[in-house]
């Protein structure tokens, strides 16, 4: 899943992808572009919302020349530094204390866009920062509680999993690091079906409900089965004489091997149906399994086989191209 870990606070310039020398115009352009790409209603990826908040937080600080100057001078914890602090004295005291400001872990209050220094020196807090936390962005001011967006992630399943159902452990990148989820896969899930995890999507603000997380089932290509809805298709290779004379062969199905009767005179392309041997339907009839006949000839004939085929060719009046 995309979206890097957020244990370490990333540099605001890095988040917006601009150099430290960027002009206000460049910062705004970068922000607008990234915000459009990562808005949770435009980008259903579960990591997009966190990126959107990060981008908004970075823009909040860098778009205001005054807070930007303070960020440049004092780093990510600039809100805790009193207004009248001399940047150089600050740097010296930092170096003396031996702590690297940039690598410091995010404070508990920092994740929602509010400064970690709320309890500290109020004079150092920009009013915009105080109000910017509603949607994690400056544009989100004063809109009241807003429910979280629905998110979507793909879940690739094997044909066997789609057939039997089961559980799948999935790890998503969440705001507080890795988020393990146990997804129950219903037996008979089809391609494109959505599995809903209520309340596991984007977070609502100010007590509004969270969005839902949807896993969209994608059934991975299978070496043997092709899928159409709940129907399964499988190749059934036959020798020419088996196809001509009829036979009984074993066909592998997700339920195990099944004997299939091939009637005499079966040509390539004919489908033999195994009723309800496809994917199950939770509230209806299971799909079918179709064995598609494919006549296969030996690449190398033995002398005896060649003799018999030649004899057949001489005797037979069959013309498959006759109109």
């Amino acid at each position: 899943m995309p979206g890097g870990p957020r244990a370490d606070r990333r540099d605001f310039y890095e988040i917006l992808g601009v150099p430290r020398t960027a002009t206000q115009d460049e910062i705004q352009r970068a922000y607008r572009q990234l915000a459009r790409q990562n808005h949770p209603d435009v980008n259903k990826d579960p990591g997009a919302e966190d990126r959107f908040k990060e981008i908004s937080e970075a823009y909040d600080v860098l778009s205001d020349p005054q807070t930007r100057r303070r960020y440049d001078a004092f780093g990510p914890d600039f809100r805790q530094v009193p207004e009248d602090t001399d940047p150089e004295a600050f740097q010296r005291s930092r170096a003396g204390a031996g702590t690297a400001g940039a690598g410091q872990a995010r404070g508990a209050g920092g994740a929602d866009g509010f400064g970690a220094g709320l309890g500290g020196d109020l004079g150092g807090i920009d009013i915009e920062d105080l109000l910017g936390g509603i949607f994690g962005g400056r544009a989100g001011r004063g809109f009241g509680p807003i429910p979280g967006a629905d998110q979507e992630a793909e879940l690739e399943l094997t044909v066997e999993e789609a057939f039997q159902g089961g559980h799948r452990s999935v790890t998503l990148q969440g705001p507080d690091g890795q988020r393990p989820l146990d997804v129950r896969i219903p037996a008979g899930v089809t391609n494109g079906q959505r599995i809903r995890l209520a309340g596991q999507g984007g977070r609502g603000s100010e007590g509004a409900p969270n969005g839902d997380l949807y896993f969209v089932a994608r059934i991975a290509p299978h070496p043997r089965y092709r899928i159409d809805g709940r129907d399964l298709y499988v190749d059934l290779p036959l020798a020419p004489w088996e196809a001509a004379l009829g036979t009984s062969v074993a066909v592998e199905t997700p339920r195990g091997e099944m004997k299939v009767k091939v009637p005499p005179g079966t040509s390539t392309g004919k489908r033999l149906r195994l009723r309800h041997y496809g994917l199950p339907h939770p509230r209806g009839n299971a799909g079918h399994l179709y064995a598609e006949v494919k006549i296969v000839v030996p690449t190398k004939l033995t002398d005896e086989e060649r003799r018999l085929f030649e004899q057949l060719a001489a005797v037979s009046t069959f013309d498959p191209r006759r109109r």
């Binding site: 509603i134 809109f143 809903r196």
Partner: protein
């Protein structure tokens, strides 16, 4: 924790209930219906009724407005475009599917 497939409840909400559920003002809801951003049915008494699915639509309207500072007419355009893209992406996905 395990999660199962959940059926979405589909009872309708009247204007008051809808506004309460979405944490919005009924006047705003009425305006959005007039703009065609929200879908609502009007009963014989003239009261507006909203399908449950419109709660999510309202959430999206609020997020788009908050995230981009869009006005409500622009929100209508954006939601229409997003819906069209979702339909196209689903069709594309379907067409790309391997197999039959």
């Amino acid at each position: 924790m395990g999660y199962a497939l959940v059926l979405v409840r589909s009872a309708s909400l009247n204007l008051e209930a809808f506004a309460r559920t979405t944490g919005t003002h009924p006047d705003l809801v009425r305006r959005l219906v007039a703009l065609g951003v929200l879908d609502a049915d009007r009963d014989a008494a003239g009261e507006l009724w909203f399908a449950r699915s419109q709660v999510a639509v309202m959430g999206r309207v609020q997020r788009l407005r908050a995230g981009f500072g869009l006005n409500y007419a622009a929100v209508g355009l954006v939601t229409d475009l997003l819906d069209r893209i979702a339909v196209l992406e689903a069709a594309l996905q379907e067409a790309r599917r391997p197999g039959r």
